[in-house]
Subunit: 517 residues, 2 copies
Amino acid sequence: MTDSQETLLQKIQEQGDLVRKLKAAKESSEKIKEEVSKLLALKAQLGSEDAAPQKFVLKTAKGTRDYNPQQMTIRNNVLQKIITVFKRHGAECIDTPVFELKEVLTGKYGEDSKLIYDLKDQGGEILSLRYDLTVPLARYLAMNKINTLKRYHIAKVYRRDNPAMTRGRYREFYQCDFDIAGQYDLMVPDAECLKVVTEILDALDIGKYVLKVNHRRLLDGMFEACGVSADMFRSTCSTIDKLDKSTWDEVRTEMINEKGVTPDAADRIGEYVRLNGSIELADKLLQDEKLSKSKGAVEGLEGIKLLLNYCELLGIKDKILFDLSLARGLDYYTGVIYEAVLTQPIKIGNEDQTIGSIAGGGRYDNLVGMFDSKNKQVPCVGVSIGVERVFSVLEAKLAAGDISVRTSDVDVYVASAQKNFLDERMKICAELWNAGIKTEQSYKKNPKMLNQLQHCEENGIPLAVILGESELKRGLVKIRNISTRQEEEVPRENLVQELKSKIELLDIKEMNGPLAK
Amino acid sequence: MTDSQETLLQKIQEQGDLVRKLKAAKESSEKIKEEVSKLLALKAQLGSEDAAPQKFVLKTAKGTRDYNPQQMTIRNNVLQKIITVFKRHGAECIDTPVFELKEVLTGKYGEDSKLIYDLKDQGGEILSLRYDLTVPLARYLAMNKINTLKRYHIAKVYRRDNPAMTRGRYREFYQCDFDIAGQYDLMVPDAECLKVVTEILDALDIGKYVLKVNHRRLLDGMFEACGVSADMFRSTCSTIDKLDKSTWDEVRTEMINEKGVTPDAADRIGEYVRLNGSIELADKLLQDEKLSKSKGAVEGLEGIKLLLNYCELLGIKDKILFDLSLARGLDYYTGVIYEAVLTQPIKIGNEDQTIGSIAGGGRYDNLVGMFDSKNKQVPCVGVSIGVERVFSVLEAKLAAGDISVRTSDVDVYVASAQKNFLDERMKICAELWNAGIKTEQSYKKNPKMLNQLQHCEENGIPLAVILGESELKRGLVKIRNISTRQEEEVPRENLVQELKSKIELLDIKEMNGPLAK
């Protein structure tokens, strides 16, 4: 809507108010008529009796998108698989409001705070849209004084980032988090988070992956051992985090030029971050002359050893890689950190697409305490599944024709070739709906047979009930199998039962059949 | 966080930046030391090594709330029942972003526009949080040039209203909409919407209800016949809408004093709005001297007759009441309007609670056209289920002890009475998870047996696997039924199979049993 239109609408509103006031005050009819004619003139300017047709470009907000039925079907299928895993591990579900008091988010995201969406001050509280689900969880635990919780939370979060929509990066996007809060024994819940990630990635079946693990205490100890001062740990860490997208040389340059790390220290860091392996590497590093002198490094390495040991017991050892280059950007991690990475590009149509990171998380033992007036801590560990990347892969596969989805579950279409059968169709639809059968019919009084059957084919509806005068007189209706085109007459009073058996048969076939999941 | 703390954090950041710059510039170590000591002094002021503990009151934004696991379980159960009905009617699912360009919402909500949440202008587009799901649907249809769609949309919407949280009225709340878009024959999709509402209210089983129906063309025709001028139809309509909460006298006074309706006209309107009935009333009104002269009134009455006829075919006639006092507040309705009302108070504990309206909707044929540059219309009809009221009733019942909910689905808890059994527990958990069995264990290395069994009881976990050294040596494990306390030894290698049969048995019992849904 243009400014001038908005002004016009404003004027119409005011003039309308004036007219109503005059009428209420029982002013003279001349006076009222005069103002009414002004009102009508204003409305005429608007060009249309109702409201003016839209003049601005119709779009969703930058970096956001609608989900159409195909996308929603993909999304719901993916989320259903993930929720099944979360529930298998006994996780409960919570939800929090889409906005928080701005103070809740302040000081939690370091440099990224500039990406937070603020609400306009309309009088009242100062609010911001949630940036992730972790800070709201911490606020929830502290506010309700909850000490233990295993929860999942699937909801949209908001970041004023530069969107890269074809790669699944949006300003409004889903997060899908599993976290365990509570004072427990070292690495036990941490290992379960890794198990949860493997079960989810296996269930989603989107390719081979590796789970990289590292430890913030080890990273800090490593920086210390390399001669970086303590106040530079976090910013050096966030530079290391770029190693998945940048070369070592680029990262080294940033460390030296922007973060103030000496070239010597950077080179020493470079020696460590190219290391990765398994429990043997942790053992070897415990013998490392420099690292073994750092309390943090030793604590981190012992933790990693314990974690890898538990992973072996959980049967997921071969999927884990201890990787010293893994850093994770967020400030609030205090212990183990992890990231799942797809190790092969995904085939989409004839092209290979590299996905990279698909899940990540870690331990954050101090976040809840930041919300508690007595700084009481609730240790937490968790993982976030990168569902937007999964959605975008599946959407690309759909677009390339590699997979297909059905957006409605309708089993039966009630049709007729003859005129004036709407009443009869309605009665039958009601009967089927009442019997719990997923049923549709045309909303037209006299639809063409061809259009009705075409609707069935386009929407994958397997069965049609076809009504005809001669059959109905004999107490019969026809059931048509849309794909085989076979038709069968059944007694009208047995229709529900006949359809139910046919649907059950089709469901069994589908479960065993080659149809796309 | 207080202002002074924020200032302090700001200073620490700046001082840190300075130190880093000095280091990067290889300044003298004295100079660097001096600035580092300033930095440390600032940090000391902060009182804690990490961040300062929270000083502001911990709360969610006004009019919003968290959903805890019990509330989420209730919510998910309710939504699942509703979705089942939507899908039974072949509805597809869509979603839209939580915010829209402000222009999209402008001029759609009349007086209520002041309740829209705006986002802060942070450079870029001017955005507002969605106020309902209907306007985003219309924008979606127009933007994508979609002419037919049967969709449901369940999502949160935002209104800066005065919250009445105990009665389920929030500033952030769920809407749950079913709409049919397309150029179809008169009243066919409209009647299906009513059928959908009855199926949902029956499935939710929250008490007796009546579906009130009326028609905007009839209301306009009625105003016309009573001598109200056309530019006052909408505002008179929104006064009539208050009849469910106010007496006729109050409504009459508002019409006369605030809306400028003459006392004569108001009294004539008063005669009509006390009428309600069925198809016979529509027939009688078609004979009414004044109404029969109004084209709109006749059109509305003919529409109501057709709708009531279809409702009879769909078997829901006894639930429908044609009610001339039903008006609905929103401006955009153009045809049939409806509202479902619970006719009896709901028993919560020892108290009766009156709920009133539980669903509402209607036809809006001009809304999509407002978004189309050529004003191309896509007629729509839909209904919105008042799920927040359903949630609040069930939450109150939960609080009163009338119902109970289980927030996790775990079937098996892996426990041990002996020390150093964590490794064995982990292996068994992994085996059960891999077999798809919902399993939990303690995250402590050496938990007490009593605590483990207590966890099962508190969380309704029906089975425990109990590990002991002597049994394991004989290749056995114990399965304990938590409620009967019966224990049974089974071969370790048959554990998965044994548990699966026991779970199946429990599931069957539960389905037939007296447990709360």
